[in-house]
């Protein structure tokens, strides 16, 4: 109870790694991309898909940074990877093609995949050539994830999958989905009998249907599995331990800077709108948001350290996501009050960025675990449930 962080921290006497050269390299790469017009500041998020961008980023060593070299990785530290991620997000780079694979699917395969699967997929992810999607939610299974009904049945040489997954970002571009399936009938232990599979989306029997979101974009999808068979080697873990696996994966999903920087583009616009003005109230409001962002970033950096050290990070990752998404949603609220521009669509200017942020905001506290689920997890850590 209440031991989320050691405080004051008497153990930490190590100097933080100097990453100034890495930052300079990433910024130089991003500047080239901005000049080339592939980055539209304030009008993209980390779900925006651009395979070319991901391949170029990978060629510079900015994908699969912490992975072993034999799988195409670069054996850099978790902190270095964190730095690259936040630099990408700070300019709203279109990282959607590799983001999920780099953040969670690849690491999941690394930890729990068969050697065959690792050799086949990891180097391709590291090269920026593969896109992964998340196959967790279903039409009747959202926050209560253990109630999934998509089922995988053992057949000769593999598993036959039947069911539906929803809200899968970029499934229409994705090569693979990691799909949570029921492999044994539901028993008294609702978390038992689940398994994760790496499912290729080009197989016969798989259909992807678009779900257009509030910004009018097609990023979300429904994915229907109608008897497609995946080979045995595509099972993650031992089988039946899917709940443990999915929980681990979520710690990676909830921990990063993508959980508090989704509206950073608008925050930049807001800060610029106050330059040279002498409105104390506006400065104070801006300062509150920036100070909050700086603090949440410090929390997020500690998660990276814990994940790197193999320590449990779920409790603080949960807190970081809850606070981070709250901030992401507050930024457009404050911007509306302080900026002179009205939220209007159509151009990538201040008005457009404001409109885009307002229209995107509802999903921040839903994707990756709703606000209510997160608070429930924190309450459990506090010994209240």
């Amino acid at each position: 109870m209440l031991n989320f962080l050691s405080f004051p921290d008497y153990s930490n006497t190590k100097e933080p790694q100097d990453v100034s050269e890495l930052r300079a390299n990433v910024r130089a790469f991003l500047e080239e991309e901005i000049q080339a017009g592939t980055i539209v500041p304030g009008m993209q998020t980390w779900t925006s898909f651009d395979r070319g961008f991901s391949e170029r980023a990978a060629a510079r060593g900015f994908v699969a940074m912490t992975w072993p070299k034999r799988y195409g990785g670069h054996e850099r530290t978790a902190f270095e990877r964190y730095v690259v991620c936040e630099e990408f997000l700070a300019v709203n780079a279109p990282v959607g093609s590799h983001w999920v694979a780099d953040r969670q699917s690849g690491p999941q395969i690394m930890r729990h995949g068969t050697e065959e699967l690792k050799e086949k997929l990891l180097p391709e992810i590291a090269a920026g050539r593969l896109t992964f999607g998340i196959g967790m939610s279903e039409p009747d299974s959202g926050s209560d994830l253990s109630s999934v009904r998509t089922k995988a049945e053992k057949v000769d040489g593999g598993w036959r999958i039947e069911g539906r997954k929803v809200w899968t970002t970029n499934a229409h571009h994705a090569d693979y989905l990691i799909v949570l399936c029921r492999t044994e009938p539901k028993s008294e232990d609702r978390y038992a009998g689940l398994s994760q599979f790496v499912v290729p989306l080009d197989a016969p029997g798989v259909t992807v249907r678009p779900l257009v979101n509030l910004t009018g974009e097609h990023e979300l999808n429904e994915v229907i599995f109608d008897g497609n068979v995946v080979p045995d080697s595509h099972l993650l873990g031992k089988g039946g331990d899917g709940w443990k696996l999915v929980t681990e994966e979520l710690a990676f999903e909830r921990s990063g800077p993508d959980r508090f920087m989704s509206t950073f583009g608008l925050l930049k616009v807001l800060a610029a709108s106050q330059k040279g003005r002498s409105d104390d109230h506006a400065k104070a409001e801006l300062g509150r948001l920036i100070g909050r962002l700086a603090a949440i970033r410090e929390l997020s950096l500690l998660i990276g350290e814990k994940l790197q050290a193999g320590e449990p990070a779920t409790p603080i990752a949960t807190i970081a996501k809850d606070l981070g998404t709250g901030l992401e949603q507050e930024i457009p609220e404050v911007a509306r009050l302080l900026m002179t521009e009205a939220p209007v669509r159509g151009e990538p200017d201040a008005s457009g960025a404001l409109a885009f942020a307002i229209l995107s905001a509802p999903c921040f506290s839903l994707r990756g675990g709703t606000r209510e689920i997160l608070k429930g997890i924190i309450a459990r850590e506090l010994g209240l449930r």
Binding site: P8, Y10, A272, Q274, R277, R292, L323, A379, L384
Partner: protein, 333 residues
């Protein structure tokens, strides 16, 4: 691993547990005996240089003291005690002065009254630190007769000084940075606040797990769970910001944004944790029957002490607007 910090933490824990085993919380007697006990244990020497007979320790070691102090909601103004003794140890303040202290990260603004805190009864001088030329710390000593004595919300004496119409008894330039001293005080205060929020969360959790209404412990109600989850989240994010700022300070790499943000978040954590604890404890917490008020009143006071929240917000906001064409680099480099 700082074994000095750990040792100080344990020393203060023993000292305060022993003190509060018999002392009546909030009594004048408790405050004055505690000061004697703290000096006896050498706690005021943490920041005094070694050649002046002190520990010459870093901010982390001082934070160990202020954290434990906060955890027990002990009455003495611990931050002023540590920093006044440091100024004396550095030879910047006469040893025999019983000073009340206020430090501003900026220049002296005569439009704004200064709130100074005394450590030991009636002060002989009111010392105001502010940024002089090149951001160096200037110290000015004012006669106590120029100030009005009031009390903080926690009941401790405060001296309010209008600097507009008074002349200091003396003024001197120092070689320290004003912002650096302000940051040190702010981070020690943030740490004390987080000691208090730690204890209050423990108290609140214990209470909701024990107290039953409608036939079940309060902890089983989701509305209660979510309130405490929010309070704990504010506590943890403030811890992260303060930890990082303390280690940056000790490494000589502190940025203004870092300490300003840490103090601001600690203030917010204090306010949210106090509010939620009051809510879940119910009516008893609004009386002096329960120890909660010793904590909540201090938290409400400290939010604007050693870094007024609105000033911190404005400072961050102005700097961010000024640097908006390179906002991200300004934040992280």
């Amino acid at each position: 691993m700082s074994s000095t910090a750990l040792m100080l933490d344990e020393t203060v824990e023993r000292l305060l547990s022993r003190h509060f085993a018999t002392a009546v919380r909030g009594s004048a007697e408790s405050s004055s005996t505690l000061l004697a006990e703290a000096i006896e244990a050498g706690l005021d020497l943490v920041f005094v240089p070694e050649d002046g007979g002190g520990l010459g320790a870093g901010l982390l070691e001082g934070a160990a003291v202020s954290y434990r102090w906060g955890y027990h909601a002990a009455p003495l103004p611990i931050v002023e005690m540590l920093l006044l003794r440091e100024l004396k140890g550095l030879g910047l303040l006469a040893d025999d002065e019983n000073a009340a202290l206020a430090v501003l990260p900026t220049g002296l603004n005569i439009e704004q009254p200064v709130l100074a805190t005394a450590v030991d009864g009636e002060p002989s001088v009111i010392v105001v630190g502010y940024a002089g030329s090149g951001g160096r710390l200037s110290l000015a000593g004012f006669a106590p007769g120029n100030a009005v004595q009031r009390r903080s919300m926690a009941g401790e004496p405060l001296f309010i000084l209008e600097t507009r119409s008074v002349t200091p008894l003396w003024a001197r330039e120092t070689y320290l940075g004003a912002a650096e001293l302000a940051a040190k005080g702010a981070l020690l205060t943030a740490t004390a606040i987080l000691g208090m929020t730690q204890r209050l969360l423990e108290v609140a959790i214990e209470h909701v797990n024990t107290r039953k209404q409608f036939g079940k412990p309060l902890a089983k109600f989701q509305a209660i769970q979510h309130q405490l989850a929010e309070a704990a989240a504010e506590h943890v994010v403030a811890q992260a910001a303060t930890r990082s700022a303390i280690s940056a300070y000790d490494a000589g790499k502190l940025k203004d944004l870092s300490w300003q943000s840490a103090k601001m978040q600690a203030g917010k954590a204090g306010t949210v944790v106090a509010s939620v604890t009051h809510q879940v404890l119910g009516a008893i917490g609004f009386t002096e029957e329960h120890l909660l008020h010793h904590y909540s009143k201090r938290l409400w006071h400290l939010r604007d002490h050693w870094g007024r929240e609105v000033e911190l917000r404005k400072a961050i906001g102005s700097a961010a607007a000024e640097n908006s064409d390179r906002l991200w680099a300004w934040m992280v480099d």
